[in-house]
């Protein structure tokens, strides 16, 4: 059958037909390959640059690199805030076969608590497998060494070092330096508002308090960038290019660490504050508020328990008493009022009153008493400062009136921020008619004016304000802003000094009035009846000052003040403002000690210790010891 059919077929015709069809097929094949090639030409040649850009966009990522935070030095170049490597034990889950087993073994080796493990597994589940997860933070050097010896047994586990802030002097400088801590939501919002997101993209910590916060913009520096090649999962394969970050500026403070430590020691366990400044510039040499706390606790996140303890402590360690404490200035402002009285012509240097220990307004039954029950007798302006005569100032305040006092004391800076380079500052209160109306909706009574004469009656001031105002007296009207910042450390080790900032000066009619007041302050320390004469017995340097005792508790008209009967927290605040040497003042010291009692016996001795320390150890000025015999001086 098959053979028969083959005879019928026209083989050559069929072969020709097939060959023709094959040729057509080949043509179609070539044409279709042409389509493929032209499409590839369009992709690879015509649109090459577009696709090359997209390919690079896939693989090249730009990562921010955090700048190193600027360091903080004291005026002598001692490091007060440094960047230390902190070690973290990190685990890359992807590189570990049996994660549970590895963690179990590590827990034994590195004393990892159950909470730390729990946190680790929580973090683990929310991250990509190749990203390192912290298992234990803040390893000690001993722990680092212990792990390093065993590291070869733990593939995918490593110790990472990151720079973190450390404050080597702990609680000595807390209220000055403040601290840095992890950037939180609120910080992030502020950063965004300031348009600094890019600059903070890689930054971990931010200044939360003190100098760290106030000078954050200088300390932070400029972010750098690293161009890396990544794969499709975002894992970094290699670094292509680096644009290094600009480190933050190293800053130098006016603080003298030695003096600061001495100040801390003099306050001992007492609640209070000492401010020491250089009256020539307003620079703050020391500023300590007691009690303080360790700022390092905050850097790595303070525990809830520790924070609650600080927050709820009745001693209020979180407050910087020097700038935030608002105290009645008491007798420390008598020199200021005396100057006002003299300069306004209300009194002159010979104006005298007879102090019987009691002051009365005409037709008013209320009696204002002097601190000395029987009075000081005949008192002129100089003696009124020397012995701190209250009655004289009741009279003066009455004569001046609240409007003059309020205006002049505002010019001295009371009731306003001093402008110190800290955000933690209160403005205090300088009372006035307008203030009382606004605050209590009551008129100002003459009776309100009388205690203003002795720095009471709604008048509150911060220790830094008092210090600034005394400097104004010393400088005869020139007003400086208290400054912690001294300048910037340059790469050659020199300090580029920041220029002192001045405020609108306090103007007087007659310059000699300054001298009257300053001389009276000298008598406080050196006069026969000076309230600080005992505190400054046998000093080698000449100093001047003013004591103050602020009443916190009103006693009844016919009662007398019995210290033992008044609860401790209601006892008087002891205060002292002073400066030395008298002729060319180098330091101005302000002391406030809460609930310590009288200023003469409780605050002035502290000021003396500080001055003693300063002239013995820091000042270049030397004072001959009048009691030293030539033999003693011989070798």
């Amino acid at each position: 059958m098959g053979r028969k059919r083959q005879h019928i077929r026209d083989h050559s015709a069929e072969a020709n037909l097939f060959a023709r069809r094959c040729a057509i097929a080949l043509l179609i094949v070539v044409a279709m390959l042409g389509v493929v090639v032209s499409n590839l030409y369009s992709l690879q040649v015509s649109q090459f640059e577009d696709y090359q850009t997209r390919s690079n966009g896939n693989r090249i990522k730009v990562l921010p690199v955090a700048p190193n935070r600027g360091l903080i030095y004291d005026r002598n170049g001692i490091l007060l805030a440094e960047n230390r490597p902190v070690f973290t034990l990190e685990v890359i889950p992807e590189q570990i076969d049996d994660l549970q087993q590895t963690i179990k073994k590590l827990a034994v080796l590195m004393d990892i608590t159950a909470e730390e493990q729990e946190e680790f597994f929580t973090t683990l589940n929310s991250q990509r497998r190749f990203k390192p997860v912290a298992l234990k933070t803040q390893l000690s050097e001993e722990e680092v060494a212990r792990f390093s010896a065993q590291q070869h047994h733990y593939k995918g586990v490593s110790i990472e070092a990151r720079l973190s802030r450390h404050y080597p002097y702990g609680d000595t400088l807390t209220h000055i330096l403040g601290y840095v801590a992890k950037i939180n939501k609120t910080d992030l919002q502020k950063i965004t508002e300031a348009g600094q997101e890019a600059n903070y993209a890689a930054t971990y910590d931010i200044g939360k308090l003190g100098i760290e916060k106030f000078h954050e913009d200088k300390l932070h520096g400029e972010v750098g960038y690293q161009q890396v090649e990544v794969n499709s999962q975002g894992r970094i394969i290699r670094t292509l290019d680096v644009d290094p970050p600009t480190p933050g500026q190293d800053i130098v403070l006016n603080i003298d660490l030695q003096l600061q430590m001495a100040v801390q020691k003099t306050l001992e366990e007492q609640r209070g504050t000492v401010v020491v400044s250089d009256p020539k510039t307003g620079g703050i040499l020391a500023m300590y508020s007691n009690p303080s706390y360790d700022p390092n606790l905050f850097v790595h996140g303070i525990s809830r328990k520790n924070y609650a303890a600080l927050l709820n402590s009745p001693d209020r360690p979180l407050i910087n008493r020097a700038t935030q404490g608002q105290y009645p200035p008491a007798s420390t402002i008598k020199p200021h009022l005396a100057l006002l009285g003299l300069d306004s012509g209300t009194i002159d240097r010979d104006y005298t009153i007879k102090d019987t220990g009691r002051f009365r307004l005409p037709n008013v039954s209320h009696v204002w008493r002097d601190w000395k029950r029987w009075g000081h007798g005949k008192v002129n302006v100089s003696k009124a400062i020397e012995v701190s005569c209250d009655t004289y100032y009741y009279d003066l305040a009455y004569k001046l009136g609240i409007d003059k006092i309020s205006a002049a004391m505002t010019d001295f800076g009371f009731g306003d921020y001093t402008g110190i380079d800290l955000y933690e500052e209160s403005d205090g209160n300088m009372p006035s008619r307008g203030w009382k109306r606004a605050r209590f909706n009551e008129p100002w009574y003459v009776g309100d004016t009388i205690p203003v004469g002795i720095g009471q009656s709604f008048w509150t001031a911060t220790p830094i304000q008092l210090n600034q105002s005394v400097n104004t007296l010393i400088n005869r009207g020139t007003r400086y802003v208290p400054q912690l910042l001294r300048g910037y450390m340059q790469s050659n080790g020199e300090v580029a000094l920041a220029s002192p900032k001045t405020l609108r000066p306090y103007l007087v009619q007659e310059d000699k009035n300054w001298n009257i007041v300053l001389k009276a302050m000298w008598k406080v320390v050196n006069g026969e009846e000076g309230t600080a004469r005992h505190a400054f017995d046998d000093v080698l340097y000449e100093s001047a000052g003013k004591t103050g005792t602020a009443q916190l508790f009103s006693i009844g008209q016919n009662e007398s003040y019995e210290e033992d009967e008044v609860a401790e927290r209601l006892r008087d605040n002891a205060m002292y403002v002073g400066f030395a040497p008298f002729d060319a003042p180098e330091i101005s010291v302000t002391v406030v000690i809460e609930n310590a009692g009288g200023g003469s016996s409780n605050a002035a001795p502290v000021a003396r210790q500080v001055m003693d320390y300063y002239f013995a150890n820091i000042s270049s000025t030397t004072f001959p010891d009048p009691e030293a015999t030539p033999e003693d001086a011989a070798p």
């Binding site: 077929r9 097929a25 080949l26 094949v29 493929v36 090639v37 590839l40 997209r54 794969n231 999962q233």
Partner: protein
Amino acid sequence: MKNKRATLSNNTPRLLERFHIDVILLMGLLTLMGVGMVTLYSASGQDMAQMERQLTRLAVGLGVMLIMAQIPLMAYRRLSPYAYIAGLLMLIAVLLFGDMGKGAQRWLDLKVIRFQPSELMKLAVPMMVAWYISKFTLPPRTLHVVTGFILVVIPTVLIARQPDLGTSLLIASSGIFAIFLAGMSWRLIGVVAGMIGAFAPVMWFFLMKEYQKQRVVTFLNPESDPLGAGYHIIQSKIAIGSGGAQGKGWLQGTQSQLEFLPERHTDFIFSVFSEEFGLVGVIGLLAIYLFIICRGLIIATRAQDAYSKLLAGSITLTFFVYIFVNMGMVSGLLPVVGVPLPLISYGGTSMVTLMAGFGILMAIGTQKRFLSR
């Protein structure tokens, strides 16, 4: 020594001839395999285990080709209807009891080996159509063309329902090529083209599964879903385009080495090749493919009988369909249907079928002489 070498070189072609090896075709295939291994080394991320497995498969493929070349052409012709019917039954069996794999029923578990009947049909369909058409004189009459199409459509639909769009496309084209080469009239071709156009909506609404429709939608507008279904095509186009004319260099393709390219050692290996060797490399690769296709068509035209001619032509042109569909889909010309780049893509089953096809081609190319003598 000199004498011995001369005898050896004289004997070599004869030795190859005895084992029905077409030297020219073999050279083309080996070159392609070489290029494939070089590309795979890069695409697999220098994975030596994958290289070894692929080498093993190539060796198996060459072995299968050698065996297929030895089988007498008469046997192929006689076996054609039985192979076709057996394949058809197995396809039905797969739909009824087949194993699921990646959401599709393709595998038939014969207890001893797992088997994909669709792979058998890649050869059985052109064999059956060639057998049926060549029973009558060429060019075929309309009735025979219609019958031929029915023989093609049944397995195509069965495979499309598995669903395996790529394979059904390859099987459909293999049968249609046989009918076309037989000399089907141009008028009829026009009618069929019209019918296929009419069939497309039927495919869309009744035969295609959701993921297949998704592929078509994505193909039409890949940027509509850049991280989802469009990701493959976008990344593949970026790889190809960024390769440029010269290419980024072997092992230097960032899209492939950094794993932006999915399935880069299997269906998308052409993207790796294009990225690293550029348009110049691609044209070289196409030249190798064209060389093999030309050789296949020469073998077909030189074949003695109509069955051999149609089968050889169909196998050769189907080989081209692999190339065109694969290159078309990775470069965004065609929807992604899962067709590998022949002898370059990593993977076993379809390569063995391809090599079996080349074995038959070699049988046709070498056995005719014995018949004609």
